[in-house]
Symmetry: C2
């Protein structure tokens, strides 16, 4: 895997040092050039760069549909993705220059605006699923997480229906992983509404808003949410499931979508 | 603690649902206004906002010494820190407009430039420490991590000498936590050279560069590094210790600073 590299290290204990090797995940800059203007450089895992670029632009509100994009050119060697979008799309300058730096992955997003831009107030999906289905998806998710298991250095994200994982990816950034999923959905025409997102990372406000933007009714994580993540999920009609560990989970908001298996 | 809030949740297993409470960490925006110009908004834990603002400006190269700062005004209510710096300091615009978005916490930093700006090529400190000292510091670090233990939703960072923790903080962002430590060091005149940084987070390139900027010889984490973190640590003369777990650790670079206890 081009995402992993072997490094010589010292394994040290109180008793002594010994030479061994360790598998380490790779990190590379990716520069997105939008209509011939350098927009941003992301530090990321060097895979699925096209999906990352498109997912980023979509999360930032710069593109909404595949039709907004005239062309995409990926230069893997130089870590550059050039995207040409229709000129009437919202000015990248205006959107990105807000410099809203987030806790977890530094995406320039001003969430109150995102909610307004959306022109929509709630996720209305009637999707429900059982605790067993969530536990089963999370187990599958962990089996997919090969780079994490080898290196401990990445986050994972997946798009699922209630039965199985439809798209999976890993990246050193939890935001990048989610953007890669949504970039793929946009380019390949995979629907997101009525679907489920699983993330290995904590659920902060900006993660919640990325999910809202795609009309996703259920977000699942093995990690913790923040208070702002919970408040937004509650307001926006999203079911937030955290701390999926062992055979249990915490349902923070809109619990009606999660039924216990006896129901 | 103002950093924690109790939320009603459903604890769900295959057998059923029951109501309980969960402690959740808080997340709030902090806006930094530099010389009357809105510079950036960070999503962070609402504590030590003065340290975070100054640490951020210092990590971005906008301030270097306490003397660069004319005044700091914190408005906790509105989540705003106003900083007045001497006008001859590098233009914030120029530095921040690079839009270098990182994997882990979204700080606009262009590392190759950071290294150049520094005018220094290596950390020369002769500090050494034993495996036992590292294990002991990490144990103390974990005892300090109260918000993490209560909520699972934050990162921690600490400045130490080889014997004990001198400054400790927690934040929803791993970058924020480190910036809070360095902001405090700058404002309170705490030296960083010859000292050790412990972080709960992964060691990516931009974390490494923050540490280099403060001439820190040893960085310790219970998590993984990336390849770029390792390469920079190697080049810049920093000892990178990762995966401190149980009674062992991985030393990735400049291992001469870590002696086993028999030596």
């Amino acid at each position: 895997m081009c995402n992993i590299e072997k490094f010589p290290i010292w394994r040290v204990t109180r008793e002594g040092k010994r030479h061994t090797d360790d598998l380490v995940t790779r990190e590379l800059p990716l520069t997105i050039i939008l209509n011939n203007r350098e927009l941003v450089s992301l530090l990321c895992s060097p895979t699925e760069q096209k999906y990352l670029a498109v997912g980023f632009l979509s999360s930032e509100g710069i593109v909404k549909d595949k039709d907004d994009i005239n062309s995409i050119t990926v230069d893997n060697q130089r870590g550059v993705v050039r995207v040409e979008v229709k000129e009437d799309k919202k000015s990248a300058n205006e959107l990105i220059s807000k410099h809203f730096i987030t806790s977890g992955c530094g995406r320039g997003t001003s969430f109150y605006n995102v909610v307004n831009v959306q022109g929509q107030t709630k996720v209305e999906s009637q999707t429900v699923m059982s605790a067993l289905e969530i536990l089963s998806l999370v187990k599958e998710f962990q089996q997919y997480s090969q780079i994490y298991r080898a290196t401990g250095g990445v986050h994972s994200a997946a798009l699922c229906n209630t039965k199985r994982i439809l798209a999976f990816t890993e990246d050193i950034g939890r935001h990048n992983a989610i953007d890669k999923i949504f970039g793929r959905c946009l380019l390949e025409g995979m629907p997101t509404e009525d679907h489920i997102i699983i993330t290995s990372g904590r659920i902060t406000s900006e993660i919640l808003l990325k999910v809202f933007r795609r009309n996703i009714p259920i977000i699942v994580s093995k990690s913790a949410p923040t208070d702002m993540g919970i408040r937004l999920a509650s307001d926006l009609g999203i079911t937030l499931v955290g701390f999926v560990r062992g055979k249990r989970m915490n349902v923070y908001t809109n619990d009606w979508r999660i039924v216990s298996d006896g129901e």
